[in-house]
Amino acid sequence: MKIFVCLANVPDTTTKVKFSDNNQQFDDTGVQWVINPWDELALTRAMELKEDSGNNVDEVTVLTVGGLNTEPTIRKALAIGADNAVRIDAEPADSYVVAYLLSEYLKSYEGGYIVLAGIEASDYNGSAVGGMLSEFLDVPSVSAVSALNIEGDKVSLLREIDGGSEQVIAGVPFVAIVQKGIAKEPRIPAMRGIMMARKKPLEVIKGEAPEALAEMADFELPQVKPPCKMIEPENARELISLLQNEAKVL
């Protein structure tokens, strides 16, 4: 069995967000690009599954839609341990376009597989690629997955629901849309991994993108909050009264 991990190239979490071109573009000047945090957890879990030989995972492949600028991030995934990577060379215009391109690639793969996709990307917060991909492929999907184990030809998952969790069984191929908990800590590339990553295959294929269904324009920064009102530690009563009478939330 093969595991595919979908990877988004996103600005580092600590990036100070700015917009340029009269607020029509995200200003990426000086931005550090990283593996989307949820995808990083997905990749970590994929490596754990491969390392346990009982799971019969023979390969972990990373899939990305994007330009040449995504390759340092892809190399980082190879350094963490993925066996190889595929970059579908196209502009990731919206979730629909990305999911379509991923599905076209996966349709050509004939063996049994699991796709792991992070539940969200920290740039445009669409939470859509994994679900859209599964529908394009017409395969089952399980979302909000916080644990995943391979049991023979089935996969056992823990799905988080509001107010609890469910144990779900799925067959392959299928798409797991994963969240926190799927792996404890994201793996950090070791020096040996970084050296090896240089020689690992990174295939680039040309993508024929469909028309996007939605488009983004006019970015805005959030309004600046008024300064915090400070209350002395011994005046708990004053705080409660402010919450009651000023904020009117109690």
């Binding site: 679900g131 859209m132 979302s143 144990q167 011994e234």
Partner: protein, 322 residues
């Protein structure tokens, strides 16, 4: 034409987010001069279904068959597709929670309908159809335009006020054509947090961080939460340490919440934590370090040891209630 809402229920009761969705869809339907249709999947009694009318449902389609009890993303997608075609839905509205995140993208592909996820308000305009959504985990907003005739919107939690209208809805007990047996997944076990307020549904959240110093010190957090009818939450280090369960972790990779009031006790406010809570209407911060970033996000702050301040807050709330 119609605006279709998928209203989720839990143990036969609708979630608060479901009522918010109905209010939201109603406002859209009024602007578009059409009706609000609500789809409920799972066994829900009539007196509960009728509550949807209070928030503006004109028509309720109830699929109560036990066959559709467990969520299978493919089966639910087919079922919602079936109903949206039958009702000629121009706009389909779901909650941006785990279920909505699972279904909205699949629907978007199946119906070839553009999706805006985590919308924060009503459309800025209907033609073109433009919505505002958050990007960069709350560090920005963007206007997103859907270019297709049919639209799908998932609404961010607590971003639309409940609005009572009192329509008397028509209730239809619906037997779908969609085959419940054609899903590729099955649920083998369900664990519920009984009697607890659902974190993403709560109006008030009391949350503890590393400043609480140990798992044994959570008593005051729970007591304050009980007094205020609040849910409890925590920061990432706390759940990583195992002091509190993972489902309480709020922050970028944990739960994203937007309560009316968020009380952060002993939380310094790392950027990843703020990403999960910055949409709260009011934030109260209690922290020993006056330079902690949480005070930049907070509306009210106390510089002090949460372990000493919380008991005083509890006393003050008791006095307020007396």
């Amino acid at each position: 034409m119609s605006v279709l809402v998928f209203a989720e229920s839990w143990d036969g009761r609708f979630k608060k987010s479901s009522f918010e969705l109905v209010s939201y869809a109603r406002a859209m339907a009024e602007s578009e001069g059409t009706q609000t249709v609500v789809l409920s999947i799972g066994r829900v009694e009539k007196d509960e279904l009728i509550k949807l009318g209070k928030y503006g449902a004109d028509k309720i389609i109830s699929v109560s068959s036990e066959d559709f009890k467990g969520l299978d993303n493919q089966v639910y997608t087919r079922l919602i597709t079936e109903v949206s075609e039958k009702e000629d839905a121009a706009i389909i509205v779901l909650a941006h929670n785990n279920t909505g995140k699972a279904l909205a993208p699949r629907l978007s592909v199946r119906l070839k309908a553009g999706l805006v996820s985590a919308a924060v308000s009503l459309p800025v305009s209907y033609s073109p159809f433009v919505l505002t959504k958050k990007v960069f985990t709350g560090k920005g907003f963007v206007h997103q335009t859907i270019k297709t005739d049919r639209k799908i919107v998932s609404l961010a939690a607590n971003s639309f006020e409940l609005k009572e209208t009192n329509s008397s809805p028509e209730i239809i007990d619906y037997s779908p054509e969609t085959n419940a047996g054609e899903g590729g997944t099955s649920i083998s076990d369900v664990q519920k947090q009984s009697g607890k307020l659902i974190l993403t549904d709560a109006d008030i959240v009391v949350s503890g961080g590393r400043g609480m110093k140990s798992a044994d010190n959570w008593g005051p957090i729970e007591e304050l939460a009980d007094l205020l009818g609040a849910a409890t939450a925590c920061s990432r280090p706390v759940s990583d340490e195992g002091w509190r369960p993972h489902h309480e972790h709020t922050g970028q990779t944990g739960k994203i919440i937007a309560p009316n009031l968020y009380i952060a006790a002993g939380i310094s406010g790392a950027i990843q934590h703020l990403a999960g809570v910055s949409s709260s209407k009011y934030i109260v911060a209690i922290n020993t370090d006056k330079d902690a970033p949480i005070f930049e996000a907070a509306d009210y702050g106390i510089v002090g040891d949460a372990l000493k301040v919380l008991p005083e807050l509890i006393e003050a709330v008791k006095e307020m209630k007396a």
